[in-house]
């Protein structure tokens, strides 16, 4: 258990509304990531953070923004949700202890955009 929680765990919203997903970690990890998982595509990186206020885009960042004002929280915002953003969203942290660089995942948020 890497001490990662995500909220909400499930959300249904309507097209055009803003949505914010939260990832919270308790172990002071520097690196945090947001992925989406869709059938036929696997896990794809949306945005990542390498420190407080330090973020960058992943491979599917269009329509998403992120913020990290505290080490423990990484927020993913859909400014105006679209049906194509219906997905399962996972947050991950990267362990940089020793020589390993594994990522550990949260339980996920299932988002449905109607």
């Amino acid at each position: 258990d890497a001490g990662i929680t995500q909220s909400p765990r499930h959300k249904v919203t309507e097209t055009g509304t803003p949505v914010t997903l939260r990832c919270h970690q308790t172990e002071n990890h520097r690196y945090m990531y947001w992925y989406r998982q869709d059938p036929g595509h696997g896990l794809r990186l949306i945005h990542y953070s390498y420190g407080v206020k330090d973020t960058d885009k992943g491979e599917v960042s269009d329509g998403y923004s992120v913020s990290r004002s505290k080490t423990e929280d990484f927020l993913l915002t859909l400014e105006s949700a679209t049906s194509s953003q219906t997905s399962v969203y996972f947050c991950a942290i990267r362990s940089t202890s020793g020589s390993t660089n594994e990522q550990f995942f949260g339980p996920g948020t299932r988002l449905t955009v109607l």
């Binding site: 690196y31 036929g40 896990l43 794809r44 996972f90 990267r94 390993t100 660089n101 339980p107």
Partner: protein, 112 residues
């Protein structure tokens, strides 16, 4: 282009029937290959990291091996509780942020 391909997409086994899952990759300068297990409705669970060709890691009925172009996840005498989707991933070439490229996974079903 960095790429990870897993095969087969789905595998159905009888309990006790050993088999292997494949993960092939094309990435310059491999800096680790990661295996995960994912149960329905849950986040991926880390299993193994392999760093160099010839390396092997074992955990219960699972053994992961690595060559210069692919990795295998061998499952010996599987049980129904081994049913899950198995994912592999490699760090994208370039940069130090650890961004991973994932394969689409192999869905394993083990019948009693």
């Amino acid at each position: 282009e960095d790429q990870v391909t897993q095969s087969p997409e789905a595998l159905r086994l009888q309990e006790g029937e050993s088999s292997s899952l494949n993960c092939s990759y094309t990435v310059s300068g491999l800096r680790g290959l990661f295996w995960y297990r994912q149960d329905p409705g849950k986040g991926p669970e880390f299993l193994f990291t392999l760093y160099s060709a010839g390396e092997e890691k074992e955990k219960e009925r699972l053994k992961a091996t690595l060559t210069k172009k692919e990795s295998f996840l061998h499952i010996t005498a599987p049980k129904p509780e081994d049913s899950a989707t198995y994912l592999c991933a490699v760090p994208r070439y370039g940069g130090s942020q650890g961004n991973l490229i994932f394969g689409k996974g192999t869905k394993l079903s083990v019948k009693p």
